[in-house]
Symmetry: D2
């Protein structure tokens, strides 16, 4: 595997398996002289951890942040930050029944095809646990973006067919599904709890807004801001699609509707989602991702074993019936990583 590094000038490399000794990240390219402490990163980790509510997995990962390098007397030195999260509360026995069978919707089959060997304990490297390193690295990027006046905010807009119809920013971290509409959130939670009882799961939509971006960010031709964000988001396990601004609705629009006209005060609309020609316009950047239903369900499913024989499987264990609330901090982390990298690339270009 050699796709474990993300970014060019602000770069993370993650490591670790779900049930190995630890997961973590090396963050390279951090500006020297910045105050970054473990508590700051811990706050982001805590938003990602399981066991936060009835709609997330009761597993306790703890995710206690340890920074082992790159900090001297509380400040970054310009050398790489190594952030480690030791694994705890692992119950590999819970996964032993799936050692010899492929769970539908999981990467079990494809990893075995690719590598000829598979760490079957809790999905190994393909586990959502791998995102812990992303969130830690993203927290460092977030800190640097704060200094630039840039804010990244993600939240759930739909779960299981229930969509938000209002945008209340304050409500987001106040409900268990991190939805932007408290009324919808209540319905979503009820739905997710019912599905959990039924042994099923559901998907949703997460939206992300970036505020405070200056115009000019993004590196055409291939490394457009939207292209890099798309790669970042599709690299998250459960994400099946992304759209910017009007997105797929653009396909049914006229040019006269879709074009964002301007007057002396700026743009009159934001169908483009804050990006033109791959470069930020200075407006809010806005995109949405499609999150598939959690693959781990306890309903019986048809599959085959590693021996090719047909069998049924129930994915037991402690899983999130809907991954949206926990994917929100991962989306933010990945967006922060893309943005900080683009700022640095821009500085290089202009130098």
């Amino acid at each position: 595997m050699s796709g474990n590094t993300f970014g060019e000038r602000f770069r993370i490399t993650t490591f670790g398996e779900s049930h190995g000794a630890a997961v973590g990240v090396i963050v390279d390219g951090v500006m020297p002289g910045v105050d970054i402490d473990e508590a700051y990163i811990q706050r982001q980790m805590d938003r990602r951890k399981p066991g936060q509510s009835s709609v997330t997995s009761p597993r306790k990962e703890y995710d206690v942040v340890h920074i082992l390098s790159g900090i001297f007397e509380g400040k970054t030195t310009g050398t790489p930050l190594m952030i480690i999260l030791h694994n705890h509360d692992m119950r590999p026995e819970a996964y032993q029944d799936i050692q010899q069978a492929f769970r539908p919707g999981h990467a079990d089959f494809t990893y075995l095809q690719k590598y000829g060997i598979r760490d079957y304990r809790g999905s190994g490297r393909a586990s959502g646990r791998e995102t812990a390193g992303r969130v830690a690295g993203g927290a460092v990027a977030r800190k640097l973006l704060e200094r630039r006046g840039v804010q990244v905010l993600a939240y759930t807009t739909a779960i299981g067919g229930i969509a938000c119809s209002s945008f209340d920013e304050q409500a987001i971290e106040q409900n268990a599904v991190r939805a932007c509409d408290p009324a919808a959130a209540a319905a979503m939670i009820k739905k997710v709890e019912q599905l959990a009882l039924a042994g099923d799961s559901c998907g949703g939509i997460v939206e992300c807004r970036v505020r405070g971006l200056p115009p000019g960010l993004g590196e055409p031709v291939f490394d457009k801001l939207d292209a890099e964000l798309a790669k970042a988001m599709l690299s998250i396990g459960a994400v099946k699609g992304i759209e910017f601004g009007a997105g797929f609705a653009s396909a049914s629009m006229l040019g006269s509707e879709h074009n964002d006209q301007m007057n002396a005060a700026g743009f009159l609309s934001n169908q483009a989602g804050g990006i033109l020609g791959g470069i930020s316009t200075g407006q809010e950047v806005i995109f949405r991702i499609a999150v598939k239903p959690t693959s781990s369900i306890s309903l019986p499913q048809q599959t085959i074993g590693t021996d090719g024989q047909e069998r049924q499987i129930r994915t037991e264990g402690r899983h999130d019936p809907c991954i949206c609330p926990r994917i929100v901090p991962v989306v933010e982390a990945m967006a922060c990583l893309v943005l900080e990298d683009q700022f640095k690339r821009q500085a290089a270009m202009r130098s």
Copy 2:
């Protein structure tokens, strides 16, 4: 700008502006000993060129392929192919009226913000003309994929709200919008012609299928097959979204519906779009992109000049009222580039 290179082991670097002397591409990482001639590449270029029908721009770009390096006695040598396409039929005067104003939906404003200088002639580097180099490079990748038994096929599934309701592969190259449903194609063409007369434009959906992929292709964690395809597609000018398999519909599905179960004969469905955990399953890979309406319309639009003064603009010139048919070969080219690169990365991993 330093995002002009795409790929790791199979890599293209493109150059050129819409109204400069030439556009083109350096293709690096081509296996030695392969028969690649200009005619093979020319066929792909001809699919992309304007002036093919009533629904594409009447501009004549010609796009005559010249390979200036990397071929010896008709075969690749393992050294980089430099493919150049000299520019012709440029009418910069047609663009002079937009020298001092920002066209809505175009990158005029953002390029000036980023670079402080703007080659305003036909959008310069931000022009769709830049994709000529991609198609040339993608044709080389296509040739190599043919040897691997991999086929990449893109086509229009919706334009201006008219959707295909059947899939007739033979029909695709037989109609001017490259739609997979001949009946829908007729309606689409009529709609586009009406919009062109009205000085407006419309968007659409393009779908892409990859056949013959073995299971195991794709490099997790960050360089997942779907993540790389997403970046590739969003790097194309007019693309505003991408979805794999069930895509955004996944958000409303249950896990028990979305998971692709298996029996001894293989997968029973393909909601995932042929990719699990970022690695190909061996099924057809399928994704769709949202294409925005062409930004260049001749209806009057409100904008500002480079002096900040408000003004109206009509984007005259010879433009495609819907870019879908011409984006089809670009989508295929980018997909080919991603796939060939992933094959090479896989070979390195397994070595």
Copy 3:
């Protein structure tokens, strides 16, 4: 700092400071299914550690290898190996007197100029301790090269003006300076001990031979085998030069002397050092590096403080009076990293 990653398809990223909590490495691109255990890596670490003899620093680093990811049931899985070495026996107080002054020959001055902040404890990231991660990563590469039948062997050929005049491969690991001539080794050791007593240090020459390389390895134009080896070696702290084959002596040779002629049995000589046009010939690859005298000496030296004031400094602490014996495993590690990466790049090219 963002030069902490080395290699393209076989890639290491190192982290850690001399007196931080730990140093280590993430090794990415390791083939799955290979038996790699901590003991194998530990053997290479032990060759690098201080305190091995009278001519190396009496510091005890221990360097106990822990592999925290990428191994499952004793075999590599294709996911990144994270190898950590916790720091021990740190005496930061020994360095406090140099907090406010720049040690001659060290990176103190330049790091402060570059970063505006300096982890002065034992040189921080610029410490030789940083090479521990390289040796751990190089050990993984060495294991993979063994499977390819490739052997990398480095040894001292000169120290303090005393040169080896014979090549006895068995003697190398039997003497404290890792010289290839036991008689010269005895003289070298005596000289180094005298210099240590006098508070001074000396330099030397280390030679490296690579055996078992097939012809064809190396990626022209810029990533020639010798170019990559040169970068790898010059990235080691104390290295001030490198030469391949006849090296600097080539400058005084005639073409008729330098050209390696061939007969049916192969090359008749190896002035080129086993590389032509940046690609291996199939002969032994041979190169030498110039190692400067250890910068840390206890003789008084003139310097300035961080306040710009002139002062004298004696670099106390436990240092190697000659770094050659301990640089030998680092040279081998870096050579292994380059070679394994080139094998993988070759596999990609040929795929």
Copy 4:
């Protein structure tokens, strides 16, 4: 081949074979708004071209510079510059006798081993002609470095055993071997002319000084300034070694001699060659390279054919009996590319 790109943020990709249609380069990462014209680049190309004197090949390459992209109204736009040099005066027939035999000292054997196919015309991609693209790209970097107050100067210090004993900067471009000592230059020229008549060739030493570098340039750990320069220089065909500052002489020095002490006015010496810990000290950066004798000689040499049969070969054609004077602008070009890239990487780090 996929080592045709050099640099991270200031990046060149070269293409072309000796006897193909053209050679050239794409230069990516050029700051927008800079005046760069073909005449500026042409001046550097003219320093590299053959036929300048009795000691260089009488071939006429002309090397007329054409910039086909990235310039608008005389200024860079931030998009990639494509610079092409069409090939002329090719006499492939002169090479046909070597189609079936490996020339000693050339890459004929290794290219065939690597690629299984060989463009035998004038060494194809392995020809010195490939450096034309480097010099064109390096000229762009040189222009940008001028704006930073950085000057790169290379010159010959020894040829065929005759060494310069003085440094007269004005003399360098006034003599045919580009030596820094006019008296030594006269002896060198005489020697080279004699060797040419005898059908032989000789090597030499080229030194390079970089002035005006601020302290702080260079990216540790692996991408140290000296490491990147070493890679750049060893990527030039005939270079067999490099040393910085005291270089190989360091191996016989004491720490008390080698360490560059400081007083309030700065460093008291420059044994290190202006680089400590891989970062510039603000002093002159100085390094030397070993240049092997030209491989093409007309004296008979023993070799084998592609059929494995033994035979004699005389490399006829028009070759440089000593490559030093023509390698000087290539050394400068590669140094400029490294430096400009490091400036940009530094800007990214500090942003």
